[in-house]
């Protein structure tokens, strides 16, 4: 064997090893993630119940119907409300709790233990628990209102179109704020103490130090948190499904719950896939735009 063919054998060997190491993961990933996304787009061009083989190719008809569907835009709007509330409530609250945990008060370790606990419950458990809190007859919230003399405010929180979305949003914030707290706390501990010390010498303490040192140095953490919250909010499903099922009268309908309804309740898999494809495109567009903007700003 000459050297060049030996090299080729060697190369093949390496290629074989790489293949063996990556193949199992690649197989599973392609089968579900890659294939799944591709098939979502394919199914969205069909008229199909999902059961049986009577598929009918209808081109972009599902999408033409979709853009005229008021429920789609309504659920997209709810998703965007969720995005905005998540970013503008959970992130600042998380930062506030993180500052509290890094402050000099006693018992911060105990506080952290308790503050993190909502993250441990499954969304189903959280959803049921908070549904029970909001219960019109035996809910904790109405009971509390009655006790502090505000019985007139008592309401069926999840049953009313006016309050259902807010009630769900509060639950979501309760569930996810702890995660941003931990992220922010990790970001805060990375800021070197010397910076604050030299700022103190220059007379910058308290508020000034916060706006000029803490926030700028946390920008990476904040960006990651915002993207995280964005991706999570756009695909949100579980909690609204458990608490309201998208109701009352569509008040808490999200893109994912609407897709579920079309696909698995009304067995209109083609139309459901079109909603899923739309969700995918919305998430892709918004996430990459945000990534692009924040990247440019940080340089």
């Amino acid at each position: 064997m000459n050297t060049s063919s030996m090299k080729r054998v060697n190369k093949l060997n390496i290629a074989g090893t790489v293949f063996l190491f990556i193949f199992p993961a690649a197989l599973v990933y392609c089968l579900f993630n890659v294939f799944g996304v591709a098939m979502t787009f394919y199914y969205s061009t069909l008229k199909w119940t999902g059961i049986g083989t009577s598929m009918q190719y209808i081109g972009l008809l599902n999408f033409l119907k979709l853009v005229k569907d008021p429920m789609l835009w309504h659920s997209l709007k709810n998703n965007l409300i969720l995005v905005i509330v998540s970013i503008s409530v959970q992130l600042p609250l998380g930062l506030m709790l993180a500052l509290l945990l890094t402050s000099k008060i006693k018992g911060t370790k105990f506080l952290r233990t308790i503050y993190f606990m909502p993250m441990l419950l499954s969304t189903v458990a959280t959803g049921i628990l908070w549904s029970l809190f909001y219960d019109p007859n035996f809910g904790l919230l109405n009971f509390f209102l009655e006790h502090i003399g505000l019985a007139s405010l008592k309401s069926g929180w999840l049953g009313s179109e006016k309050t259902a979305m807010t009630a769900v949003l509060i639950t979501i914030c309760w569930q996810y704020t702890p995660m941003y707290m931990i992220l922010m706390k990790a970001g805060l501990t990375n800021i070197p103490e010397e910076l604050y010390e030299s700022a103190r010498i220059d007379g910058a303490t308290g508020n000034k130090a916060f706006w000029h040192i803490t926030l700028p140095l946390l920008s990476d953490t904040i960006k990651i948190s915002a993207v995280l919250s964005l991706v999570g909010s756009l695909k949100y499903f579980d909690l609204t499904y458990v608490m309201t099922g998208g109701g009352p009268n569509g008040a808490t309908e999200l893109m994912a719950t609407y897709m579920y309804k079309k696909g698995f309740v009304e067995f209109n898999m083609g139309y459901g896939s079109a909603i899923a494809a739309f969700m995918f495109l919305v998430a892709l567009t918004i996430t990459s735009t945000v990534q692009y903007i924040t990247r440019r700003r940080s340089f």
């Binding site: 290629a15 090893t17 790489v18 063996l20 190491f21 990556i22 199992p24 993961a25 690649a26 599973v28 990933y29 089968l31 579900f32 993630n33 294939f35 799944g36 996304v37 098939m39 979502t40 199914y43 999902g50 709790l97 509290l100 402050s103 506080l111 233990t113 503050y115 606990m117 441990l120 499954s122 969304t123 189903v124 458990a125 628990l129 029970l132 219960d135 035996f138 904790l140 009971f143 702890p178 931990i182 992220l183 990651i224 991706v231 756009l234 695909k235 579980d238 499904y241 458990v242 897709m259 579920y260 698995f264 896939s273 899923a276 494809a277 969700m279 995918f280 998430a283 892709l284 996430t287």
Partner: protein
């Protein structure tokens, strides 16, 4: 001034302590109450410790949900750790042309809302004949766990010093032996992080289970708790006990290994 600030901080701390912690105390107390007692006074302490709710919850069918969840979560975690660490080893240590592209492709999976693949996966699992079975859940769960797992492990493997492996390579060890005997044992922190994150994800996962499982005997805990809620809606203490019992393994694990759990959950979530 400082004292005022401190008092303010404590007030805020206690306020959030109640907000975050009280629901859990409420759950604990309510689980010992009878429905009658609960309806009379929602937040009063239980007068007597009634274990009736626990008896109602700890029935064979509920324990079945438990068992199903344990099987699905542990199998998924084992598969994910095995195949993700292998792929990560290749990404971290082998030079080949498509390394970066493939890695990016895997990691990009974190940005894709998993729910958009719900319908195709439902169809696929049906065609594979895995509908209404625990393995039918493990496939998608494994796939959705891979991006985060590969991201964490590749990052970790890249930090491991190369000297040990280079010596082993010199001695003629194959990549497989190096991976199994050197890399894998050295990576327990990354494995723990990945394992905890994926365990909690599969333990709590709901939407795919909802779509892919039908028979009561195959249901996982989140489905089971919801079913219990549907059947026993009037018996609020019973439902709350079901929630508590279903969450207990995670809560106990949290109190035993708090740092690890927090670390696992957060680094799993942070991704890229």
């Amino acid at each position: 001034m400082n004292a005022v600030k401190n008092i303010f901080l404590y007030v805020v701390a206690v306020f959030f302590l109640i907000l975050m912690g009280y629901p859990f105390i409420f759950v604990l107390f309510t689980s010992f109450k009878t429905p009658m007692e609960y309806m009379m006074n929602v937040w009063a302490l239980p007068k007597t410790i009634s274990i009736e709710n626990y008896i109602k919850v700890l029935q064979p069918y509920f324990l079945r949900y438990f068992l199903n969840s344990i099987v699905v979560s542990s199998c998924t975690v084992a598969i994910v750790i095995f195949i993700a660490s292998m792929a990560s080893y290749a990404f971290a240590r082998m030079h080949f042309r498509w390394n970066k592209v493939l890695f990016t492709l895997f990691v990009a999976g974190m940005m894709i809302p998993a729910h958009t693949t719900l319908i195709p996966i439902y169809v696929l699992i049906n065609r594979l004949g895995l509908f209404d079975s625990l393995p039918g859940l493990m496939g998608p769960y494994t796939s959705f766990s891979l991006p985060v797992a590969i991201f964490i492990m590749t990052g970790f493997f890249k930090e491991v010093p190369k000297e040990l492996e280079e010596a082993a390579l010199m001695d003629g060890c194959s990549h497989w032996v190096i991976f199994r005997k050197i890399m894998f044992p050295l990576s327990t922190p990354a494995i723990a992080t990945t394992g905890i994150y994926n365990f909690l994800y599969t333990w709590n996962e709901f939407i795919y289970a909802l779509v892919l499982i039908n028979s009561p005997s195959i249901k996982t805990l989140p489905l089971g708790i919801r079913e219990f809620y549907g059947m026993e809606a009037v018996n609020i203490p019973g439902v709350i006990t079901a929630i508590l019992v279903g969450s207990l393994p995670v809560l106990i694990f949290y109190f035993l290994a708090q740092e690890r759990v927090i670390n696992g959950l957060v680094s799993g979530a942070v991704k890229g």
